[in-house]
Symmetry: D2
Subunit: 309 residues, 4 copies
């Protein structure tokens, strides 16, 4: 097998030189300011070896990647009852589509489209104050990454809220069907804030390790979820993690992954490694352009596709 550290550095260098960078998201000023030339990659293997390339230590807005962790947390609280509020099928639609909600009585197709993630957030909140729920989410991420410096970017959260009318539409629509239990503004407040968490590639890859290793952190040995639940979260990531670009990601990269509009992607090579990549320029489907290309190169060179060596 090729040397992991070498491959990571090679890919980071190749990405840095590419002229095609995608388009940085501009819907809020905090994201619009991101440097289109930034690129980071972090891979942590089963033995705890950390391979870093490029801007792997620079924090960025994880945005929708947070949905993997809120799903994990909510499953811990609600168990499989969660699936009464959210489906687990690919939607065939954009991340913020509301059409499917109308045809399916307010039940979002899966926990990774916006509507589904809002419903998951509502389950975490379940009667608590927004501040408490948010604290719990943040502490969970700090625990997973073993890093208490992880923070919420309050400016990003405020901007998300100020422009988040489409998410407000989704939340109100689900509320009309009784899919949300808490006041809409509470649920949305927690949602906008957990999307505004800032992490580096290294921190994100650390936080994702339990998904690669049967639900346990292989360094500490601490169990986060059961092996079966880890497999199942990976399955949902594979089929639904990139909205209406999920098929493309599976086809090209061949790993469970979750993207965020901030340009990050968390990818899991089961049994092998937790991977985080970041480059702010997005492709037409709203996923990190170079992030996806880098992951495709990585799985090909290391033979890590779950669909065959």
């Amino acid at each position: 097998m090729p040397d992991l550290d070498l491959v990571v550095k090679e890919i980071a260098e190749e990405m840095r030189q590419r002229p095609d960078r995608g388009e940085v998201a501009t819907y809020i000023p905090e994201l619009a300011r991101a440097d289109a030339n930034a690129f980071g990659l972090a891979v942590i293997d089963a033995d705890g070896n950390v391979a870093l390339g490029g801007d792997a230590e620079t924090p960025f807005s994880i945005q929708s990647i947070s949905k993997v962790f809120t799903l994990t947390l909510a499953l811990g609280k609600a168990g499989d009852l969660l699936w009464q509020r959210v489906g687990r099928e690919p939607s065939g639609s954009a991340f913020n589509s509301i059409v499917q909600l109308e045809y399916e009585r307010g039940i979002p197709r899966n926990p990774f489209i916006n509507a589904g993630a809002i419903a998951v957030t509502d389950l975490i909140l379940s009667g608590h104050q927004p501040r408490e729920a948010l604290g719990e989410i943040l502490r969970f991420l700090q625990f997973l990454a073993d890093d208490t410096t992880i923070m919420i970017d309050e400016q990003v959260a405020a901007s998300e809220r100020a422009t988040g009318f489409r998410n407000a539409a989704l939340a109100n629509y689900m509320k009309a069907y009784g899919v949300l239990s808490n006041p809409v503004e509470f649920t949305l407040g927690v949602y906008f804030h957990h999307c505004a968490i800032a992490m580096s590639c290294r921190q994100l890859a650390m936080a994702g390790r339990f998904l690669a290793h049967q639900g346990r952190n292989p360094s500490t040995g601490r169990s986060v979820v059961s092996p079966e639940r880890a497999r199942r979260i990976n399955a949902v990531m594979l089929t639904c993690g990139h909205y209406d670009g999920s098929g493309e990601f599976a086809y090209r990269v061949g790993l469970p992954g979750k993207s965020g509009v901030g340009g990050g992607i968390l990818a899991i090579a089961p049994g092998k490694a937790s991977i985080a990549v970041w480059s702010p320029g997005l492709d037409a489907a709203g996923n990190s352009h170079l992030g996806r290309i880098a992951l495709e190169a990585l799985t090909k060179r290391l033979g890590w596709s779950i669909f065959g060596a």
Copy 2:
């Protein structure tokens, strides 16, 4: 690792005893006559060991499972140009939905929904006579399974054609957008016939081996497709192989798979085995009820999920 033969026999016995059998398809008399008590399972591992359970040697109508093989054949002919006529994203819709075609100018979402498979068949036909194209498809399956006794059930084909108005609607709709090149009745004729191929679980598992082993038949060493293409076909099977039940299959079974309305499922454990299961009773989503349950048991006991041991 548990003994493969033992696990297969155990599962076949468990399935035989279950009272829940699903509902046999009734839209044509040939399928309606199927024995709801039938159950077969065949697993062929990397070393060529064949483990059979239940009615693993009984031929059944493979129906939509044929779409995996026609996709493979069409990719061999058209290469990646195929993807200009067919997408590779999950549809979020039923197998025979026409709505998505209208919104996306006649381009089917993926090669495993009916519309997509018809478009793939049209590519194989490409100017030839239906009889020739059909012969090519049949010979390809005979070659893959190393078994020249595999045949088309003409009665099934005739019944499919006599009742296939919805498929005729899909085909005519695509023809209106220029997605089909051949006369509609030619393409439909070949499509109805390749869906009517009859195979046993053993034959089907044999035919699927190249997908589990980097595109090659590990016994003969003969290459069918490149390793990358085998991975990619597996990826499309995982995200799209069970229509709007694809997420569920990935969540529960954790293998690329393709189901047919005759009650068969072909599943691939990359690097490990090719698997075929058959039980005619279907669940609400039109997939084999016991077939899916058997595969879930199999992957759990053998630790074969692609999403983690």
Copy 3:
């Protein structure tokens, strides 16, 4: 021609005796309390003759009938620029559907579905305080009906707001596309309040007279809108006034009309009369069950259908 007063009294009596009353709306307690046995009918002809039957003097919640008057008011302010924010085609969908908004970039199909009426309310608000806009709407109705006792039922308005999540979804969705200019909660506040205006059949028929008579009140001679605008509002009422039951209303009644979930219907017989009917029980499409039947009887007996005597 039959005697108007006699026909009105006859129909009121027939309706009172019918056992089929439809289902009273129950989504807010104020509407749920309505008496299913109530029935009122008021017809005011070109000469100002007022024919009353049943509970024609009992105030009820006019709900969506208010949309006719807010459209008239908004056209007076914005002119035909209004049609840049709202279409004028039947939607083919339910009153509160959001699907069409997604496919048409946030532009509602017509001013009589909820989304369209919210967009119209936003135009009336246009920078003013909600209280001012609401006062303007109320005064407009009082002017049209020549009756300053017309009031808003604040309890109804409060209940509408407390349960109006689906309308909040529509409003936020349009806000995301820039179709609304004011803060969402301002626009919704005014919307919920003008739907909560209470009027009797007599008051409503008075208020609708300008639509029957070339835009003028034939008693006072005062012009409200141009003849062309009156015709055009009538046309939109006919094609869009009963949501996905508009075709049925045109087919059976043959008059422009607008229904409300409180059980009222305003109907216009151009050149002949302004008509208001009220009975709280609704049919499956959410329109007054006996109201529609009464109007069908009325137009048939008087030969008032716009589609031929």
Copy 4:
């Protein structure tokens, strides 16, 4: 009232001089050859006065205008049972949309979209040979227009059939739901042929007279349908006669009308006149551009809008 003949001649002259002519349909060569400069107008009033302007005697392909007459004929045969196979609500969709059929189990929204008209044709056919059914339709039109020279343009019919894949999709889709009773190719054959009937504006206005005059031809006194049925056909024309441009036609013209892709429009001024206009250039919604403008001018000058003088 202005002189009818004068108004018709004026409008014909105005239309002839306009530089904007719309776009002639090009999907079959026979329509593509039409002269974009052609314009004809025929109005026949209650007293039988015939006012002609421009190319009012030139035959053109009536296309979808035939649907008014097949609906009339089918109602005569099946009565209100017809409405079990076809709805009477505006569709909110394009003339050839298939989406609505999927959501509503194969029942077309109304008899004037293609799917609905095909279902109506199937009712006329009801077990007979296509040739007989077609003969019946043609004789009905010859009877209505009192003109045995009206013919089918066989070249147009052949071209329609050769390119009619989308109509074939609609027909097969309805057949799958049991909405069609006859062989698909029989029903489509009759449909393509009755759309290929050629008539002049004068002939068309003659044929439409019964709709303007309570179901009777006022010259001969012969009854075609009951007064109620005439009103109801007019109502369906108003709400559904111009596909997703029906609201616009009602708003601007204010008469029941039915357009055809050949550039013709039949419009009915109840109690006043039957009107036919023809100009081959179409607007974006597929309706005659100058035809609609001419009708708007006509109703305005004569005060014929059904929505008020």
